[in-house]
Symmetry: C2
Subunit: 254 residues, 2 copies
């Protein structure tokens, strides 16, 4: 049995909680959260606390709080030489206080409160200062995912950067699409099959093979029309920048 | 039986061909293509030609060629008063020669030669100059899709513009993600579950609700780190522009 305490109960930790609490190999000993009042626990057997002095004994302490709070929070913990990990894609392992053994348990996925996730396919990136801790993280990860990989903080940074492009920025493109349609009272639903197919395509094709559109084929007339349809502002700037890059990359001269 | 002739045999028309040729309500009479040699037809019963003077009689002629060639090609057709449509998202109905009855049959999807598509969920946007032609297009559309909608050329332009954002530009973000990982010998596969989940999320959440990440929460430290990881160049420019926009939109001040 791996004994786990969750420190913080935001998006990542609450989804991890849901995934781990029914695993026979895992025992969730406790959840600590500063805003205790925000938690409504249907799990009678699990202890919830907002008192940092009452955190219980565990094999792994999983911190799930905003990146910029990890360092001071880990310093404020009242125990030493325990195994403390964080779940952040953006923060390195060494932001954690060195008074405890350190590690990372980063599920590479986008989490929203309103939506459940299936961890099975989600890569879980792990790192630890020593090999026995790393083994423990691997064991924990494998209870929920088929893809547990060891990765250094340095490489994880790149992975997180790439994730920002393919998730955060992509989602903002969806937002722009929805705003364009909204102005003409067209339903956003019209774009959903295209959005799904765009994502599905790269299961089998590389993004290069999957690329289509006026910018790729340097269709100047369509590009000009689109630029004219867009009012001066941020969306037009993005359109121009993407078009320039696609043009340079695929560069068919007319 | 709706008799159809395909004019051009690129991505869109060849996928439409595959979807329509087995429908009992549709008879594909002929396929015309200038580069006849490029076509290898396993369909013995269907006539293929590269001779514009030998195009056969049909109820609907479907043009599937590059946008900027539609106008002159439709002018070069040697018949009149027939019903001729194009499949382009970017071109208006009136780019077609007025010597024939005009229409649009635009499947809102991304097509690649290497990948089959299921038309059932794909919105098919139709337009025609008269109501009986429109009815015919609706009937044709409904043989392959559950979502046939009438839409004006003007609104279709906006739809196509939105499609460029959510497909072409999104796919380029995948490309950037893959380039970032490639430099560190990390497999692009790591990002695929995230990419699928990003697309799946907006089935139930609005893009606004689904948005996450350092730019949204104005996490200056992570943003700065990412900008430092990116060399001067196009990717960095895109990162900065997206971050600025997300920041302005979700604008949490620190």
């Amino acid at each position: 049995m791996i004994k786990v305490v969750f420190l913080g109960f935001g998006n990542v930790n609450s989804h991890l909680f849901n995934a781990l609490h029914e695993k026979t190999e895992v025992s969730i000993v406790q959840v600590f959260n500063r805003n205790f009042i925000k938690m409504i626990s249907p799990f009678e057997s699990i202890s919830f606390t907002d008192d940092i002095s009452k955190i219980k004994e565990a094999d792994i302490y999983i911190i799930g709080i905003p990146d910029d709070a990890i360092s001071s929070f880990s310093e404020s913990l009242q125990f030493q030489n325990k195994f403390v990990v964080h779940t952040s894609g953006g923060a390195a392992m060494n932001v954690l206080s060195s008074k405890n053994r350190r590690g990372i348990f980063y599920p590479l996925q986008t989490f929203s409160k309103q939506r459940g996730v299936d961890f099975k396919e989600i890569p879980i990136c792990i790192e630890a200062e020593n090999s026995s801790d790393l083994e423990l993280l691997e064991k924990l990860g494998k209870t929920i995912s088929e893809k547990v990989i060891e990765i250094s903080s340095e490489k994880k940074e790149k992975l997180h950067l790439a994730a920002v492009f393919v998730n955060n920025f992509t989602n903002h493109l969806y937002q722009i699409g929805s705003e364009i349609l909204e102005k003409d009272n067209l339903p956003f639903d019209l774009l959903k099959p295209l959005i799904m197919e765009t994502a599905s395509k790269i299961e089998n094709l590389s993004p290069e093979e999957a690329q289509t559109g006026p910018a790729k084929r340097n269709d100047k007339k369509t590009i000009e029309k689109h630029l004219n349809l867009l009012p001066e502002g941020p969306h037009k700037k993005l359109y121009a920048l993407f078009t320039e890059q696609l043009n340079q990359k695929y560069g068919k001269k007319l």
